[in-house]
């Protein structure tokens, strides 16, 4: 006897939506509206008091966005999700739902540049400070925890250096300290890894990337695992104590495995308003419908590109967990059995000057500040996504001046390789073509 609940590919297409409740519309309707009629005064009061579910105002929730939220929660194995206008909005909302002024975060040092700046420069303005730890320094996470630490945060595969955090061990460290582990799983998508299976408690995504997949729409999401017991200690009073904003409600008591999401929506969406537009939610869902198909091709192309780069005379080094010499090769086999993702970092011989020439001379690969498009993308992080960092911070974040970040698309692999040959050829004579 086995449960007959729907599997991943089916959930990618169907989760969160029933056509018969929506005029028979097979596709998810786009509810392009700001607000929703109340049946009567009692109905309005019931919605505002959280007595019943439903929509009030699209800053708080929207039916189209709601389908996306349920779909991603289903795919991640989470209890609930809340979508946001971008991945950065998701991270900010998640942290502000957890932390108060005077609190502390332990974070991986190898994170997206925007995230690093949020943690390093912006959150201290709210009285929230961060200690950074290198992602492979598992015991470093333990040592960095303080009395006021409220979570450990990291990207499973660090951006852009591809260093893998030992998520199960870091989760144990977090849980022994009575705090949750929050993972940015943008690079993996739930197709490659479900962080809740490895001990994470909160997952955030930039849906803009592989989940949407087509480089068309900004979106983010927070997903709640539902296992973390907020009432085990007194570290999270805004979740466990009476909340003045809702008649003395205790989110943890009332909502248990969805308490974090309920607070993020009731407080964060109400007060900060980082809501996702229904059109963008719909666009993201078009991408999710083909997530598994695309991720298989992304990963297959990435592994072929790793082989190609490893053998190339112009390449100094290659970092991707599918490479047998990658320090995290064995751990990646355990955590990412279906594929190691399509982000490759490599160093080009000739340093920054050669890298500049390479990027300026590839034609198929797009030079832009995004990852996870169906198209192949390249960037030189030290002069773009991580350019606000000084030399020491760059080094601590695992970046070097010769590093090129490659997001492998799903074009024909031979076309990508041919394009790279043009780039490498130009890189050999950088002074002539660097500023072409």
């Amino acid at each position: 006897m086995d449960p007959k609940t729907y599997k991943f590919d089916t959930l990618s297409l169907h989760a969160g939506y029933q056509p018969d409740k929506n005029a028979g519309s097979r596709q998810v309707p786009i509810y392009q509206t700001t607000s929703y009629l109340f049946d009567d005064v009692d109905h309005a009061a019931a919605l505002f008091n959280l007595e019943r579910g439903g929509h009030i105002y699209s800053r708080i929730s929207n039916p189209t966005v709601g389908v996306l939220e349920e779909r991603v929660a289903a795919l991640e194995g989470g209890t609930a999700a809340i979508a946001t206008s971008s991945g950065m909005a998701a991270i900010f909302l998640a942290i502000m739902t957890l932390c108060e002024s005077g609190d502390h975060i332990v974070a991986s040092s190898q994170v997206y540049g925007g995230t690093a700046n949020l943690l390093r420069l912006t959150l201290p303005k709210f009285g929230i400070n961060t200690t950074f730890v290198k992602p492979r320094d598992t015991q470093g996470f333990q040592k960095a925890i303080q009395k006021n630490t409220k979570c450990i945060f990291g990207e499973l595969l660090g951006n852009p250096g591809n260093e893998l955090m030992n998520m199960p061990e870091v989760a144990d460290i977090a849980h022994n300290a009575g705090i949750p582990l929050m993972i940015d799983s943008t690079y993996q998508t739930p197709y490659l890894c479900k962080p809740f299976d490895f001990g994470a408690d909160i997952v955030v995504h930039s849906l803009t990337k592989w989940m949407a997949g087509h480089g068309s729409s900004m979106a983010g999401i927070i997903v709640e695992g539902g296992k973390f017991n907020w009432m085990q200690n007194d570290k999270f009073p805004s979740l466990t104590k009476e909340y003045e904003g809702y008649h003395g409600l205790s989110f943890a008591e009332e909502f248990g495995p969805v308490a974090f999401t309920m607070k993020a929506r009731a407080e964060g969406m109400r007060d900060f308003g980082p809501c996702l537009s229904p059109q963008n939610a719909w666009n993201v869902m078009q991408g999710i419908e083909t997530l598994s198909v695309r991720m298989e091709k992304h990963c297959a192309n990435a592994e072929k590109m790793v082989e190609y780069l490893l053998a190339h005379e112009s390449v100094a080094w290659v970092s991707h967990p599918s490479a047998p010499d990658h320090p995290d090769y064995e751990l990646a086999k355990k955590i990412l059995p279906k594929g190691k993702g399509s982000m490759i970092a490599f160093g080009i011989k000739g340093g920054k000057e050669a890298g500049t020439a390479f990027i300026n001379n590839v034609k198929l690969a797009s030079h832009l500040a995004n990852v996870g498009d169906t198209r192949t993308l390249v960037i030189h992080p030290a002069s773009a996504t991580h350019s606000q960092m000084d030399e020491a911070t760059l080094k601590f974040a695992g970046l070097s001046q010769d590093m090129i970040r490659l997001s492998v698309g799903i074009e024909d692999i031979e076309d990508i390789k041919n394009d790279f040959e043009d780039g490498f050829r130009a890189a050999k004579k950088p002074k002539l073509v660097a500023n072409k």
Partner: protein
């Protein structure tokens, strides 16, 4: 709120309003392995509309201390103890699934205290599938997966939770897994399996009774719910279409509307 019953701490949600001894009491009794949280889309309405609400965590469940009670009869007596412990002389009971067995048994034992019964996804007996029972008693997570499959209809399986962003199956699964499976779900399933007095207890009842049933219920089938209702004199029956066993969440608005009408009429605020 937390209070003591038989020297053990009990948790009950009061629906977001302070517990008030001057308002009529409604007690919500959850099903096997679950907690007070499954009632959130019913309790808050009544708490905000003139009633005192206790959505209980049975002993050993959710935030309540102690060990799980091993028989439906013990749970029925415990509900009576709860009413005494909070200083009331009467209450209205609302049960779901196993909670219906408890509510019916309690009302038959304490007819002077129980004023109305509202039964959701109930039956006169809930014999367990032997494989499912064994899995639950061995703390096998597959028991929870199977329960979530059986307990949900189309809304649960496809989605469409009334609260934006929540996903039925995983939320239910985490509620059950908040405690050791064998200590809650396993004990509860065994208590259901052993209970044989449901129809006899039902025949004794003489109080306003409501049955809310669902046509896609695979845990307590519609015909079993109707059979129980047939044994209760004057029982009112409502069937929710295209819905599974978890009607209190899957079709929360319909469930609340039926419950509101019944309770406001049969158990009014004086």
């Amino acid at each position: 709120m937390k209070f003591k019953v038989n020297n053990e701490e009990v948790f009950a949600s009061t629906g977001g309003r302070p517990f008030d001894k001057n308002k009529p009491l409604i007690i919500f009794i959850h099903g096997s392995g679950l907690t007070h949280m499954c009632w959130v889309l019913q309790t808050r309405y009544f708490a905000f509309h003139g009633y005192s609400v206790l959505a209980l965590d049975l002993p050993g469940h959710g935030l309540s201390e102690g060990k799980s009670l091993t028989s439906i009869e013990d749970m029925a007596d415990w509900i009576n103890d709860v009413i005494d412990a909070v200083g009331f002389h009467q209450a209205s009971l609302v049960g779901h699934s196993q909670g219906c067995l408890v509510a019916v048994e309690c009302a038959s034992r304490y007819p002077n205290k129980i004023k109305t019964l509202s039964l959701m996804g109930g039956a006169g007996a809930i014999p367990m599938n032997p494989e499912l029972l064994a899995l639950a008693e061995n703390s096998d997570p597959k028991a929870v997966d199977l329960m979530m499959d059986f307990a949900h209809g189309p809304s649960g399986h496809f989605g469409g939770h009334p609260v934006p962003g929540l996903y039925h199956l995983n939320t239910g699964s985490m509620l059950v897994q908040s405690k050791e499976i064998k200590d809650t779900l396993g004990v509860d399933f065994r208590a259901c399996q052993n209970y044989t007095n449901g129809f006899e207890a039902a025949k004794k009842l003489d109080l306003p009774t409501l049955s809310i049933l669902a046509d896609k219920d695979r845990m307590c089938r519609l015909k079993d719910g109707k059979k129980l209702a047939d044994h209760i004199n004057g029982s009112e029956v409502h069937v929710i279409k295209n819905c599974g066993h978890m009607m209190l969440l899957e079709e929360a608005d319909q469930t609340l509307a039926i419950l509101k009408k019944f309770i406001l009429e049969k158990y009014p605020i004086i």
